[in-house]
């Protein structure tokens, strides 16, 4: 996918990841999250390398990463509310009551509070994805890696997603990488990184 590429993501940057279909934009996000590993070379998060043989990383262990994959990646044997509350309990150390209260607030903001007691398999893909967005927003992560849902979003959900991302990622210390896959945001970031023919290039749309 990439050869001889070195790239540093500055704290607070907001970037679109561009690339022709099947050129590995999703794989690039997975690489940044440490879910796949390069055949040679390393990926560092806050100076600490991501290793395939360790089940922990200081940045991930403190809940620094917001991972929003195409299918949401929610636990199917738990309700949506538990899915959103779980990282708050496990990573942030909140009590069950406090975590579920905060999770419900975020579900309300994305319009999913009525589905809080449903399991993800009983929800449409777009709403599963919105649930993952709420989970990430609730966790207060510093680095957002967002892959849009398959099939895109309806105009109403697109507007809601834009509002949520604007409110959460408006903070200058929060870093965002969004895969550009059609017009799924009403106001996408201007800066971009492009993957093409094994190389990386960056730029900005005026």
């Amino acid at each position: 996918m990439l050869e001889d590429a070195t790239w540093e993501l500055a704290r607070g940057a907001k970037l679109r990841v561009k690339g022709p279909s099947s050129h590995g934009t999703t794989a690039f996000l997975r690489l940044c999250a440490g879910l796949i590993h390069p055949q040679s070379g390393q990926v560092h998060l806050e100076g600490e390398p991501l290793s395939p043989y360790r089940f922990s990383h200081p940045f991930l262990d403190r809940g620094g990463l917001a991972w929003v994959p195409q299918d949401g990646g929610l636990l199917v044997n738990q309700t949506l509310l538990v899915n959103v509350a779980l990282p708050l309990r496990f990573v942030r150390g909140l009590s069950k009551v406090e975590a579920e209260k905060r999770a419900l607030e975020w579900l309300e903001r994305v319009g999913l509070s009525s589905l809080a007691q449903r399991r993800p398999h009983a929800m449409p893909p777009q709403e599963r994805w919105m649930g993952a967005l709420a989970r990430s927003a609730a966790s207060g992560a510093e680095l957002w890696l967002v892959d849009p849902p398959q099939g895109g979003l309806s105009p109403a959900l697109r507007q809601k997603t834009q509002e949520l991302l604007d409110s959460v990622t408006g903070d200058p210390t929060i870093t965002v990488l969004l895969v550009e896959d059609g017009p799924w945001l009403t106001d996408p970031p201007r800066d971009w990184i492009q993957l093409a023919e094994g190389s990386l290039s960056t730029g900005s749309t005026p």
Partner: protein, 273 residues
């Protein structure tokens, strides 16, 4: 060197390499399972207080599925096994006028060997295969990735509760199996055979001691640790396709059964040999 020698030489090495592949794969699996066990131990020690609450919640669910939901099947199996074994043993012993050894033989057979083995087989069939299928589908649907990326260590959230749940469940089921097999078996046999309840219980009391408790504990720890670990390992090894799930489940059941048979035999030889 003639061409015949060369081809024989090549065939020998190819044959040796083929033998070596199997050994290397088996050692590789053994190494991987040992490594996962080490990770469970290491990350278990690193659990923080608030994480322990979440882990215990998942452990409780595992115990419900593995022990509580399997209790009726275990008791039914134990009742039948105990009764049939007692009838068979009584038939053999009475031919030599050695009926007084009945409870001693039954206790040794059920508590030391039959109970742990049957419970392990039930747990592999009910829960081990479920763990393998669950892990495989979680891996394929990206749930394991999401846990890792959200800062929820998959070893702490997925593996440690299954390991703890396995140990507690198997110990509980072995105790129930032993009790039902001995008492229920006696009841079933008492309907047809001239057995004295008091003599049977007195004799049992003399046979069952700390050694039996020790073997139950050791086998519970062994089976309870390795059945969930092996099944989770097989499930988490799937790569891309849902067609790998049934293969993972089959492998999980076979490897677990091999470990249970070999491990059970080794423990019995070490403690009683």
């Amino acid at each position: 060197m003639s061409s015949l020698e060369v081809s024989l030489d090549g065939a020998f090495w190819r044959f040796s390499a083929r033998l070596g592949v199997g050994v290397r794969r088996s050692l590789g699996r053994l190494g991987a399972i040992s490594w996962i066990l080490y990770q469970c131990f290491w990350h278990g020690l690193r659990l923080r207080w608030h994480q322990l609450g979440v882990v215990l919640e998942v452990t409780r669910t595992q115990i419900r599925f593995t022990a509580l939901d399997a209790l009726s099947l275990t008791c039914f199996t134990a009742f039948l096994m105990g009764g049939i074994t007692l009838l068979q043993v009584f038939g053999q012993l009475s031919a030599f006028g050695a009926e007084t050894y009945l409870s001693r033989l039954l206790a040794k057979l059920v508590i030391r060997e039959l109970g742990p083995l049957m419970v392990a087989i039930i747990v592999i069939g009910r829960s081990g295969t479920a763990i393998a299928a669950e892990m495989a589908s979680m891996k394929l649907s990206g749930e394991v990735d999401s846990l890792w990326a959200s800062g929820m260590n998959p070893v702490q959230y997925l593996l440690i509760p299954r390991l703890l749940g396995g140990i507690v469940s198997i110990f509980t089921l072995i105790v129930f199996f032993g009790a039902v097999a001995l008492l229920g078996g006696f009841f079933l046999a008492w309907l047809w055979l001239p057995l004295s309840w008091r003599a049977f219980l007195d004799s049992l009391g003399k046979v069952i001691g700390s050694r039996e408790l020790a073997i139950t504990l050791v086998k519970s720890m062994l089976f309870g640790t390795f059945i969930p670990l092996i099944c989770a390992y097989c499930g988490l090894r799937v790569q891309a396709s849902p067609t790998e799930i049934p293969q993972a489940v089959t492998k999980a059941a076979v490897y677990s059964l091999v470990v249970v048979l070999v491990g059970g035999a080794v423990v019995s030889v070490m403690l009683y040999g």
